[in-house]
Amino acid sequence: AVPKEIPDFSDHEGVWVYAEQRDGVLAKVTLELLGIAQELGQERRQKVSAVLIGDRLENLTHDLIRHGADQVFLAEDPCLQPYRTLAHVKIMEDLINEHKPEILLIGATHIGRDLAPRLSRRVGVGLTADCTALSIDPEEKILLQTRPAFGGNVMATIANRYSRPQMATVRPGVMEARTDEAKAGTIIHCEVQLDEADIKTKVLEMFEEKRKHAPITDSKVIVAGGRGVNGEAGFQMLRTLADLLDGEVAGTRVVAEQGFVPADCQVGQTGKTVRPEIYIACGISGAIQHRAGMMNSRFIIAINKDPDAPIFKVADWGIIGDLHDVVPELVRQLTPAS
């Protein structure tokens, strides 16, 4: 087949970030996106803009500028808070059609993954999901978007040649936020004209689950347990180790389903993706769906009694043995002699 002709997109300019917020608090990923947006903006010699949608949010604009936004589009209206799909899509659609950005980044959160695909269809552009790396191709000057697929076993680099903006969702916790206290930026107030009847959904209630622990995605050290930990006493032992290392306890789906760790501490394809400095896998076989969530940890330590367990294939250091012997020994050697 003849390659499709690439349209002229020279009228598209600017790197945009959808500034996700909940209850007037910016999502961490928004600040991370502004970090990578600055890099892309420098390379393309284009401005970085944040789009902030909700109600009474002016106080957040400074934080967006400090983190790299040259300008902030601010759309405020009571019907825009809390997030509702069709309301936010409409605001984004109008802004994109008016200002024609070249790149648009959205966090791959529960909100971002609701908004981005709908918006991409609306403005007629391709969308790359869940990216973990972004760069500009030196020749073509297009955005190269790298993402894991197949539960993390395959990485794909995807390009978006035939439509603008080049649009991607980006995994939280992957990009780095940067601040510049001296940075100045402008705020552009957007007119909001929405008909409640067009939004079609109502948020009746929000329910926040009480968290007794820090989110595992923020943790530098994770001690993770699997079926081999075999019960509450075993998890107590892992907690002792985690406390010593200033870390958090996490687990496989098996132990999350058994209730030994909370659901939001499940690591893997259907749980959290973590990238701590150190991941200690205890009694975890290393199923593909589990590895999908922890493969990008800086260092991986595996303790398992089965020498053929697949977890050893992704480990930097492995100890073959019964975790009920090895973990207490690790605790003993790590505890400073008093």
């Binding site: 269809r121 929000m206 050893f312 492995g318």
Partner: protein, 276 residues
């Protein structure tokens, strides 16, 4: 209630084998299964039909062997299935997939509800549902963990968030993408399965012409994104096994950590490294 359920056949990654040398995924011999979250969508649809009456139609796009997924869906209680199968559909990105499914939904005609999985375990994008909802100009709720109420015009659902959930009231017709905590999917009924395998089975296969699309709008050609390369992530893991008695293995481990960047990551490790 007229319900359409989207079902994708995916390779069964639970029994995935890795190439012992390269660590690459071995795709040969992987069996096709119904995408796990789509089972939950099917269960919800059949349950709604059982309580409110109506019909459940399954829609799937894929190669001819995806007929197995359609058969199983009928075994689970769907009334009929449509498989969109054409060489022209191959290589579609989510844009082209949503368009193709959208055309087929228009051909089906009237519906009150579309249910699908949040995400397929191979492509992993979670984009097809919302893109289809936009194409059809109907509202969507994604990450549905519970369907609380349902009537002809409106549904109340719980939508999962990272740290809890929100309760949403949504007008119908609508599209819901569901996650695994929604319900426990039933097994296919043997009698229904056998019926679904007969010549009179209510499974139709449509090609591009049947749903009125030109081939340049679907498949690889109709896609807006292109995969420019795929590769296996390079872990650069050291893969060092430390054996011997536990005291020795653990002290070896700590020694290794102290000789790596890992020591700086964690004060306790750093301290222990100085100790030894």
């Amino acid at each position: 209630m007229e319900i359409i359920v989207l079902v994708k056949q995916v390779p069964d990654t639970t029994n995935v084998k890795l190439d012992p040398k390269t660590g690459n995924l071995l795709r040969e011999g992987l069996t096709g299964i119904i995408n796990p979250e789509d089972r939950h969508a099917l269960e919800a649809a059949v349950h709604i039909k059982e309580t409110m009456g109506g019909k459940v139609k399954v829609l799937s796009m894929g190669p001819s062997q995806a007929v197995d997924a359609c058969t199983e869906a009928i075994g689970m209680g769907a009334d009929e299935a449509i498989l969109l199968s054409d060489r022209a559909f191959a290589g579609a990105d989510t844009w082209a997939t949503a368009f193709t499914l959208g055309k087929a939904v228009e051909r089906i005609g009237k519906f009150d509800l579309i249910l699908c999985g949040r995400q397929a375990i191979d492509g992993d994008t979670a984009q097809v549902g919302p893109q289809l909802a936009d194409y059809l100009d109907i509202p969507q709720v994604t990450y549905v963990q519970d369907i609380e109420t349902m009537n002809e015009t409106c549904t109340t659902v719980k939508r999962q968030l990272e740290n809890g959930y929100e309760r949403i009231e949504c007008q119908l017709p609508a599209l819901l993408t569901v996650i695994g905590t929604l319900n426990r999917p039933r097994h296919a009924h043997l009698g229904r399965l056998i019926d679904a395998c007969t010549a009179k089975a209510p499974i139709k296969v449509f090609n591009a012409a049947d749903i009125g699309v030109v081939t340049s709008d679907v498949g690889l050609e109709g896609s807006l994104t292109q995969v420019s390369k795929t590769f296996t992530p390079d872990f650069k893991r050291q893969g060092k096994i430390l054996d011997g008695p536990k005291e020795q293995a653990v002290s070896e481990l700590l020694k290794n950590i102290s000789n790596s960047d890992a020591a700086t990551a964690c004060k306790a490790f750093a301290a222990s490294c100085e100790l030894s």
